[in-house]
Symmetry: C2
Subunit: 396 residues, 2 copies
């Protein structure tokens, strides 16, 4: 199977199933994209996959999709490519295995732009918030994006009006890269007022989508899209959000994926800060008031100054649930996931996700059938510098 | 020993030692106020008590102090009186026994006003903040005080310019009572611009101080005073505070006493909210954005609506350290304070304080030499209504 065969197969599969298509993704994992596409095309896929695909199974326009994408400067990046952001997207697999309904990796990503997605998401922060933002929110979205970009972070957002737009603009002003993740096809001019902004994002960063060319925006697609924003970033900052803003959905998604969730507080009298204040109050989000605090929360260990409140511990960056699981681990003796779940007071499925995340972060390791706490992996300064250089090279 | 003999003795002792005088307080506990006063007066007190008292031991002007106080409408309320707020001040004893340097009960309180301190502190909230407040802070101090007073809470503050003044005024506007705790004598006109305000507070509530008539304000006295504000309230709300505001001292004092610490978030660009945002970020304070959330945090269990975030547990009102100690307790088996301290990861002295607090709240009880978790005491609605009525009667 060549990579180009895999690309054609995945382009076909992205067209026939509405993401996230969990059964189809499992079929691809089991048989590979080419065989999976053939099973779907011939109507021989298992019943549950057919339920996800049969409405569009005959819609075989992979080559045309690739051509239409190329016409707007987009290509399909797939797991078989070097630039596939495998590590950040792993959280989606972990969550899917734990039964999180909306999780699961995308089968591929339509990417308009020249950056290396994998390198540029190594240090990435999502800045999200309300479309109906205030001057306070717009100002800080732009300032934070500018500052984060200047410190080598890629800013992710959703290209919407309000906070999203301000974040992309702040990052562009600092030279980018910035990544816009869409809930429509990569060639669709949405929102209409952001056509020029999307062109700039594609020039200095990337416009990314799971949806094939021509796919129109829809409410459910934004929710599905939000999981990609949350997954591709190490942490998500809600800049401004009303009590029922969609940005809170991205925040809770990020939390469920074990990513760092942050929020900017605002006046208690401001409706556009109500969602942020609620997230902080419920301890679902860490209060951040500036770029330094964001870097401290998401950056590699040791990349930020210690706070005045005392020395930082490596585990300070873990979310509250992750920390409880970490604290339940023993250094001297393995425990089953079930024992750890009981000890931490966290549902077994969720504990399993967090244990795998802790393992990925070097905080836990498997011992026989059980788990133990491990010493913390210290990412070296050289590794950081090299990752940044790689991201820059890919831009050239 | 008559109550009036005790009052004269305590007036004398309040004059001869600068609060908090821990050794003197222990002498009073051991021998009673009259005998303790005689020991001090005659120079026969133990050496450590003499160190606290000898500079002023000959300053025997108890009757004159009582007269001077009476001239401004103040009297000395002492532990031997029915109106002594024994329950809220207990936290100071507990902390003192655990070795907290600044803790320890006052030997008496000079009170200008007609309210029953004990009844009126049953449901009391401290609203504190910066003198250099903004319109945002002043507005919310007044609004919160007004709302809390309307819901039967007594608002405590320190009568300073800025947030304190706004809080007292908001409470007075709702009909009071409000309590101002001073860092100078009850007859001292400080701050000068608040003379009229203090008169109103005394009319509709109480002006309270440990310091004898004529005592001038001093920086260390405000810090000593802050412990009384924190102790007399069930919870302290920092409305607005700079990064190094004295209001943060009251907040950390309240936390050390096991009281609920709350803070109002503000714009990250506002210097006068920086202290509040820091307290929330460090999880030293619960974010509150309105009266309902304050009532929920400090009110008797069941007095507030449940939040949208899920049903409340009785332990939701406990501070983070108290909660850790509570979680370390076992229902089925007694553990020593030492075992609990290790399990909770909290220093032994502090764990002992919190265990006693938990016992007072009905969350823990002693079993032999150890401690066990107990079922939560539910304060009945009738008890609450009767306490409020008592507070109102005392005002008449």
């Amino acid at each position: 199977m060549s990579v180009e065969q895999a690309r054609l197969a995945r382009a076909y599969l992205l067209r026939v199933a509405e993401p996230p298509a969990r059964e189809l993704a499992q079929l691809v994992t089991a048989h590979g994209p080419v065989a999976a596409a053939e099973l779907v095309r011939s109507g021989q896929a298992p019943g549950r996959v057919r339920a996800e695909t049969e409405a569009r199974a005959q819609l075989d326009r992979a080559e045309r999709d690739l051509e239409e994408a190329a016409a707007v400067g987009a290509e399909l990046v797939i797991p078989e490519d070097d630039g596939w952001p495998a590590w950040p997207l792993l959280a989606l697999d972990v969550a899917a295995r734990a039964g999180v309904r909306w999780a699961g990796q995308p089968l591929g990503l339509w990417v308009r732009g020249r950056i290396d997605l994998d390198a540029c998401t190594e240090r990435a922060v999502a800045l999200v918030g309300a479309r109906a933002s205030s001057g306070y929110g717009d100002h800080h979205a732009a300032e934070f994006a500018y500052g984060l970009t200047g410190r080598g972070f890629t800013v992710l957002s959703g290209a919407a009006y309000g906070i999203d737009g301000a974040a992309h603009r702040g990052s562009l002003a600092a030279g980018g890269p910035t990544i816009a993740v869409l809930g429509c096809g990569p060639d669709v001019h949405y929102p209409a007022g952001h056509v020029r902004l999307l062109d700039q994002v594609a020039e200095q960063g990337a416009v990314v989508s799971e949806y094939p060319p021509g796919t129109q925006p829809a409410r459910h697609r934004f929710l599905v899209r939000n999981r990609l924003i949350a997954a591709l970033a190490s942490g998500t900052v809600v800049i401004e959000a009303g009590a029922r803003s969609g940005a809170r959905n991205t925040a809770s998604t990020a939390g469920a994926l074990g990513k760092v969730v942050m929020a900017v507080p605002g006046p208690v009298s401001s409706a556009s800060s109500a969602g942020c204040n609620q997230l902080i109050r419920a301890r679902d989000a860490l209060l951040v008031s500036g770029v330094a605090e964001i870097v401290e929360a998401v950056g590699p260990i040791g990349s930020a100054m210690t706070t005045v409140d005392g020395p930082r511990r490596p585990t300070d960056d873990l979310g509250p649930q992750t920390l409880r699981v970490h604290e339940a681990l023993r250094v001297d003796q393995g425990q089953s996931a079930g024992e750890i779940a009981v000890s931490a007071g966290i549902p077994l499925d969720r504990a399993r996700v967090l244990l795998t995340e802790l393992e990925g972060g070097g905080f836990a390791s498997r011992l026989g059938q059980g788990w133990v706490r491990t010493r913390v992996r210290q990412e070296s300064a050289e590794a950081r510098v090299s990752a940044q250089a790689e991201c820059q090279r890919a831009e050239g």
